[in-house]
């Protein structure tokens, strides 16, 4: 039950993009078509899980015992950046079909604040390892869902008579705002 609520909370009530505003840059950049959105979302879920799997033990067994918690930011970003690089090299060598579909998005993820954000949030909330992994997975799914919904709307917007000044990013932001309003309605569930 605890994990069920964690999932519902991370996917809907505290959706990582639409409620917590993490990862809005790639969200705007890759939500122009549903295919791209799906690839990006899948890559984010994958990297988020890997990032938490590596940063959690680091924080627990290296940073905290040695009293160097203030190095968290610098250690996490380095771990995530090198992780992304390794994952890309590994996929290219070992699973070429997966690399073909996710590879393009992997470098973009280094500067995706959602990945780093989840890694830090897990530490601030003091989750256990299993809970941290579940939270990362749920946050990633939340990102994927938000991305797919908004990209589907934007695909239709391309065919609609949008006022010239609103074309492109502005209307996408307003769309995201309306979706965010929808997700706000889930807040009543967090009793």
């Amino acid at each position: 039950m605890e994990y069920f609520m964690l999932f519902i909370s991370a996917i809907f009530i505290n959706n990582i993009v639409l409620v917590q505003y993490l990862g809005t840059c790639p969200f705007m950049g890759t939500s122009k078509s549903t295919d791209v959105a799906f690839g990006m979302g899948a890559a984010v879920i994958f990297v988020m899980l890997m990032a938490t799997a590596f940063t959690w033990p680091l924080q627990r067994y290296v940073l905290t015992p040695f009293g160097i918690g203030y190095l968290q930011t610098i250690v996490f970003i380095l771990v995530i950046a090198s992780l992304v690089q390794f994952v890309e090299m590994f996929l290219k060598k070992a699973v070429p079909p997966l690399h073909a579909s996710l590879g393009l998005f992997l470098p973009l993820i280094t500067t995706n604040c959602a990945v780093m954000g989840v890694a830090i949030m897990v530490q601030r909330n003091q989750y256990s390892f299993v809970k941290a992994m579940a939270f990362s997975l749920a946050s990633g799914i939340g990102f994927l869902i938000a991305l797919i919904i908004v990209s589907a709307i934007r695909e239709r917007l391309d065919l609609s008579p949008v006022p010239v000044v609103f074309r492109g990013i502005p209307v996408a932001l307003v769309t995201a705002g309306v979706m965010s309003l929808v997700f706000l309605a889930f807040q009543g569930m967090a009793a």
Binding site: T24, T73, G117, V174
Partner: protein, 229 residues
């Protein structure tokens, strides 16, 4: 001297982030529920950006091209840790309000974007001017957006009541949806202003800016890194 002035001024209007060049959206949306938070975030970014530009530009000749992104990230991350510690020491309540977005300055596209597009190719003084201009532009934009959302959403600016008594604040604006809608409307307003200005000059109307990713320099560099392989 004039070129340094030019680099400084471009961040304040021509390439004003995030209104003209859509960069660093996460903090822009997340912390502007009050003018004070927006201003605080802007100053933190201004500090990191100016110093990271200065250091990167001073070291541009000894950083190997292949690992430059990693070097930029390490430099920016060290500065962000310094900001975190400074904020904990002197403005603890602001640090708590900005929360997770202080460490996240390190993944803000503006820092990496300016490092890649400007500081790694130019001498120290113009790079500092560029960082100062961009940082000030970002601070101004965030403060304005914050003042707007706070004023209309809770009736105060910097915590001071500004509206008449019968005004009913639209609380929606200080919450998540308000951030997206507000920024969207401002960007559209900037587009309209641009078109008006270029029409007055008799130039063809500039196309409204499109993909965020295309204007996000760090995304560009990801894509160029891809092509180089």
């Amino acid at each position: 001297m004039s070129s340094i002035k030019k680099e400084f001024l471009k961040g304040l209007w021509d390439e004003l982030p995030p209104f003209r060049v859509v960069l660093g959206l996460c903090p822009t949306l997340a912390v502007t529920s009050t003018a004070e938070n927006g201003f605080g975030m802007g100053v933190a970014v201004l500090f990191v950006l100016t110093l990271s530009n200065a250091i990167i530009s001073a070291m541009r000749k000894i950083i190997p091209a292949k690992v430059r992104i990693a070097c930029f990230i390490v430099i920016a991350a060290s500065l962000v840790v310094a900001v975190e510690l400074l904020m904990q020491a002197y403005t603890y309540s602001l640090y708590q309000k900005l929360g997770i977005f202080v460490p996240l300055i390190v993944v803000n596209c503006i820092i990496l974007g300016r490092a890649e597009a400007f500081a790694s190719k130019n001498p120290v003084l113009p790079s500092i001017a560029d960082g100062l201009g961009m940082g000030l532009g970002f601070t101004l934009s965030l403060t304005i957006l914050g003042a707007l959302r706070e004023g209309l959403g809770s009736g105060t600016v910097f915590g001071v009541p500004v509206v008449w008594e019968t005004f009913r604040p639209a609380h929606f604006l200080v919450m998540a949806p308000g951030a997206f809608v507000c920024l969207g409307v401002i960007l559209a307003g900037m587009n309209a202003l641009n078109r008006h200005l270029s029409r007055r000059k008799g130039e063809p109307a500039a196309e409204p800016q499109n993909a965020a990713c295309a204007s996000c320099a760090s995304c560009n560099l990801c894509i160029t890194a891809k092509r180089e392989e």
